[in-house]
Point group: C2
Chain length 399, copies 2
């Protein structure tokens, strides 16, 4: 019966009713789902069930129109995609939905589908036969936001058995539209650390992953929300099919900083065995989380000896030129004092994100500010850039 | 401008362009999303963006047709829903998708939307100002399945500070189409335990939540997958709009039992401070997880002193009458021996699931088998039944 059906489809030219043999299911698919699949040349093939729809598209970076085939389902094959993790959504007759064929990840302020294009260097973030740390969900009450919050905390192998050891702490932030799950679910930070520690390349440390979204009672928190008709009480016109979701202009408040010092750091230091002092405390983040890191960290160098901005720093998005005396609130005005305090200042970008981070690093160097620049080859403002940058950054910490 | 838009919509009679004041956003919505919302009488109002769709429905238990209003969006208001957590999906022109307005949860083998109808007794599973345990993600390698697996482990308040104490362990399983995240994300088991322990009602214990899906290399694992066109290599006709997804006939293999004894229990006992012996080990599960509990537990009473089946046990779905000599592979044939070994045998159901669990409990009692029967008033085969049952079961353990 199955053979007959396949034959009938083949006879009408629909030879992809079964996935092509060289199109391998994405590792992020739900169990058993053959689509989306990835060809050896990094083209991806999507399939969507919406038999009565008029128009179906898939948006994975660019938009691709899907075509309804004789089997009644919609198919599209993309051009070759860059390696790594990509969020994607499908557009059904003008509405944007996640694809039920994949696990969902919080990105762009909503739970989105994703596809993983295998990277040639995937080994460094793969689950290997090495001692493994543990990721813990930790709740705590914030006196600043007046709400219960949660963070996730990576504890390295041996944390539970060597019950006297104290550990340095990295506070690590996600980007706009993401949340405290991003660095483990999308970033594989736990596997990267397990592998680095097993190879003797990074010191065992705690990694605290919290949520950027911190607002005081009555404060406007819409900056953190998805910008779409979904979060509007009065609906706005939906974006054109295939368009990227609109992002709000990023403007950081001091609330996260206040919450971090008043609530988060005390909760971590109360519940975990933390080595004391600024030389055992680092802060980093990606994109908006890198901006928050520089906002919080540069004004509080008595509390941090290591800072990292992965595709995000204190230069905003406006393209302003760097002035060592005034940029970043003048934090770099005294290079000798800065270099004495900050053991590592790390900035990174994906090579296809453009030259701005490199220009910032060069300007810092020009101004006499020691800094480390890392560039992920061939990747964009996406998670493979940040996985690679983290793997370069973590070994530099707490030396 | 916004005021003018509202006025224009009001003038055309669309008075729900802003959510009605007494319709409160579901607690499971993404940040900022006003829909779905819940009225005081438990009707729910949904809104979907799909401007060019021909037909849109929402299926939350029953199916409800949505209507396109003058603002171009689709709306539906349900009849009153029962209290608690409900998975739901929206159907757009014949395709089934999660609603981008909510967090997604793994149910029916895919990441589904959900709505929470406030329960009058929600206090027992709410996050309160009591000492909190921690949920940890623990990886381990399975020699049986030849794959890395992960489980989540609740450790009670004090586990990290009282480093000599050893704890009893409850192995707790999800239902069909769910995964190892279900008991924390959908069930709030960590909050229920925190509250029970704080009230002195339950003993501190570890709770290990693993994934039922365990297959040996080459073994057929499709039992665990969503039954829809999404997981078919050769597409099947989609179900009629609004229809519930087809479920496979549940048949358990011995692989989970093998994996549990060979890999899971040793990994837990190696990495955590576990009190020894069968009197410190319990197993329970909901629905298919209850069936697995009885399958594994009744044949291994040397390893467990407590068993719980929440809306699932060893009687299958066929409606067979209970025979103490032969039912459940004869595990209840010798009631005196059984009662001596098993300190608590717990069975539960939601009152609207039908009488079969009550009949099973009565038949056990008739056959001289000690057992505890719990019934959740007014709830179905859903998470509020299981939250309530767990809160009744946990205090009975390890006494």
């Amino acid at each position: 019966m199955k053979a007959a059906l396949v034959f009938a489809l083949l006879a009408t030219g629909v030879c992809w009713a079964q996935p092509p043999a060289d199109c391998k299911p994405s590792s992020l698919n739900i169990p058993g789902a053959p689509y989306p699949c990835v060809f050896p040349d990094n083209r991806a093939m999507f399939r969507v069930v919406a038999p009565n729809a008029q128009a179906v598209k898939v948006r994975v970076g660019a938009g691709f129109d899907m075509t309804k085939q004789a089997d009644g389902l919609w198919y599209a094959t993309t051009t070759p995609l860059v390696a790594g993790f990509h969020y994607y959504m499908v557009n059904i007759d003008g509405g944007s939905f996640s694809d039920p064929a994949t696990q969902t990840f919080f990105g762009s302020g909503q739970w989105s589908s994703a596809i993983e294009i295998p990277a040639p260097d995937a080994d460094f973030y793969s689950h290997k036969d090495v001692p493994h740390g543990v990721v813990r969900e930790q709740g705590y009450f914030s006196t600043v936001t007046q709400q219960w919050r949660r963070c996730f905390i990576y504890t390295p192998p041996g944390y539970d058995t060597d019950t006297k050891a104290k550990y340095p702490v990295l506070y690590l932030l996600h980007g706009w539209g993401e949340n405290e799950l991003g660095w483990t679910f999308q970033g594989h930070v736990d596997q990267i650390m397990d592998n680095l520690i097993a190879a003797g390349k990074a010191k065992p440390m705690l990694i605290v992953m919290d949520n950027l979204n911190a607002v005081k009672p009555g404060e406007d928190g819409t900056i953190y929300n998805a910008r779409s008709a979904i979060t509007q009480a009065v609906p706005q016109p939906p974006p054109p099919p295939g368009a990227a979701p609109a992002r709000p202009a990023i403007r950081l408040s001091s609330t996260f900083t206040d919450m971090m010092f008043a609530d988060l750091i005390p909760a971590v230091e109360k519940n975990y065995r933390v080595a004391p002092g600024r030389e055992n405390r680092a802060m980093a983040g990606l994109s908006m989380g890198g901006m928050q890191t520089f906002t919080t960290g540069l004004q509080n160098l008595d509390k941090f000896a290591y800072l990292g901005g992965l595709s995000g720093n204190c230069m905003g998005f406006g393209g302003a030129a760097f002035d060592p005396k005034t940029s970043c609130s003048g934090a770099f005005a005294d290079s000798a004092a800065f270099n004495k305090k900050v053991k590592v200042l790390f900035v990174s970008t994906g090579s296809v994100e453009g030259p701005r981070v490199k220009q910032f690093s060069d300007a810092l160097t020009q101004a006499g500010i020691n800094n480390v620049y890392f560039e992920s080859p061939g990747t964009a403002h996406e998670w493979l850039s940040w996985r690679r940058a983290f793997a370069d950054f973590a070994p530099r910490l707490f030396r």
